[in-house]
């Protein structure tokens, strides 16, 4: 039998691609021999742009790096600036930041559920997930004024206090979503077809995951309970009780189940924060934004975004603009080395399955 190797472009304009990313595959029959990830379709040079603008003018830029979950990028920039300038955030602002981060995590997981269910063919569950995400965006619109890009956090706290009646609306939304979890389970997560399509696909062992730099769900699905919210707590996470879900196998089935359990834990965290919300001010005044200079130094801050460890390395040389900022994004290691390793030996039909279960967002790779 004579076979021949062909080069196949799983390119940017493709029905199975979510986001602007391309993979070059070398195929022999139906099995993939080698895969090369090809990022760069969304590169804007953020880190160079931020060196031209002052510390306060930069507030609008970081949230556009991750379009699916912009609040985590805002939070990491604020934490970097507050750590260098030694600003203390008041307690009520910490609780409000936790609520905003957890709502954003819910929206991001529902977007991931839409992408995965749509790719597998479970269209009903995809429409439900997208509709619930829209209710979260309605809550954000009432709080901040914008559906997708909020610019709600600023160095020293949050921009304004919660409007009247906001807490009841959030509790109503969570109770409605919790009432529909059995429907989601029956339609997608406990479905026999999902088990057959996802079990054993894209399997990675714990040793390989640590060597190739995995964090987040990819690591927790191999059995390691590592969550930055427990290890090095930030915002109000040391005052709420929650668990870190893990699974054992490390394949696409386990990763989706970890996402399902994390959504339930997010709902618990939001309810506890709303019940224990303290009173006080929400904003600590910063100096004149036109003349604000941050003392010389460097720092590294990290949070647990919905995809893994998100960090920022900020260097200041005492001026009005940042000297160098580097964002350590989780999609960089999930999207290039781990994807290329997992695609070797897989079928062409499973490329979308593996890519979306690894939870890669292309703008985070390119920045």
């Amino acid at each position: 039998m004579i076979t021949r190797e062909l080069e196949l472009y799983y390119g940017p304009q493709h029905l199975g691609m979510v986001g602007n990313f391309s993979i070059t595959l070398s195929v022999e029959g139906d099995t993939i021999v080698e895969a090369k990830a090809n990022p760069g379709y969304l590169h804007r040079g953020f880190e160079k742009l931020m060196e031209y603008r002052s510390w306060t003018q930069n507030l609008t830029l970081p949230c556009r790096i991750n379009v699916v979950e912009p609040d985590s990028m805002e939070m990491i920039y604020m934490m970097g600036v507050e750590s260098l300038a030694r600003i203390e955030v008041p307690e009520r602002a910490q609780y409000i930041r936790t609520i905003v981060l957890e709502l954003s995590r819910l929206a991001s997981h529902l977007f991931g559920a839409w992408a995965y269910a749509n790719m597998l063919g479970f269209d009903t569950v995809a429409q439900w997930a997208m509709a619930y995400r829209d209710f979260v965006l309605d809550l954000f619109e009432e709080l901040t004024g914008g559906r997708v890009y909020h610019i709600y956090m600023c160095p020293g706290g949050v921009r304004r206090d919660l409007p009247d009646g906001f807490e009841e609306k959030v509790m109503n939304f969570i109770k409605t979503l919790a009432g529909h979890v059995p429907d989601f389970d029956a339609a997608l997560f406990e479905n026999k077809l999902f088990y057959k399509r996802a079990k054993g696909i894209g399997q990675i062992s714990r040793q390989e995951a640590i060597e190739l730099g995995a964090t987040g769900q990819v690591l927790r699905a191999t059995g390691m309970a590592y969550d930055i919210r427990k290890v090095e707590p930030y915002a109000a996470y040391d005052k709420v009780k929650f668990e870190v879900p893990t699974r054992e196998d490390g394949d696409a089935y386990s990763r989706l189940w970890v996402i399902h359990d994390e959504m339930i834990q997010s709902a618990h965290i939001i309810m506890q924060c709303i019940e224990n919300l303290p009173k006080g001010k929400v904003y600590e005044r910063t100096p004149n934004p036109f003349k604000w200079k941050i003392p010389k130094g460097e720092t590294y801050v990290r949070i647990e975004s919905s995809r893994g460890e998100l960090g920022a390395y900020v260097v200041s040389n005492g001026g009005k603009n940042p000297y160098r900022i580097f964002f350590r994004t989780p999609s960089f290691t999930h999207g290039i080395p781990i994807l290329e390793k997992l695609l070797k030996g897989a079928n062409i039909a499973d490329v979308g399955n593996i890519m979306i279960s690894l939870y890669v967002v292309p703008p985070e790779i390119d920045r």
Binding site: Q13, G45, W114
Partner: protein, 190 residues
Amino acid sequence: MDRGQLSKWFKHPGIMAQKYSLWAVYFCTGCGIIEVPPSITSRWDAERFGVMPAPSPRHANLFMITGYVATKTLKAIIRTYELMPEPKYTVAFGSCPINGGMYWDSYNTIKHIDKYIPIDGWIAGCMPRPEAIFIGVTKLWMMIDKGAATGYKRYRENYEYYRKNQEKLFGKLPWPPLFPIEDKNEKLTV
């Protein structure tokens, strides 16, 4: 049903059928793609306007440029645009395709996309809401009725200008020109 439309269906059936079924190419070019999945799912249903994502550019007649364009994406956009059959319409989202937007000093983004492919309409917002996208689609219908959505005719008539701009940016392009460019230096000798 609007009885004033019945006569239009008899006089120009082609235009009416075309504008009420605009199929959009499924290409996520930039930031603005985050508001397109809400538009095509059940809450803001785009299919009641006739807009649905088409699997291949050969089946599509609407191209949505959602947000900023990086230079590497522009090559893919030009190839996809030239693959679409005529008549075709392009719509640009946000302020980044108009004049660069907030990335005006970036070395890798395109500042005026109208210099490389023709655009029929722009929608404001960062990102435009699903309601803004639908208002843009209805304005495109009115333009098609009047015959003012002529981006593809502009591309055909001024192809030499567009191709020269694309070559100034990228160097020699690896695909041949879509329409034949006449060489003005050639003299016909009899």
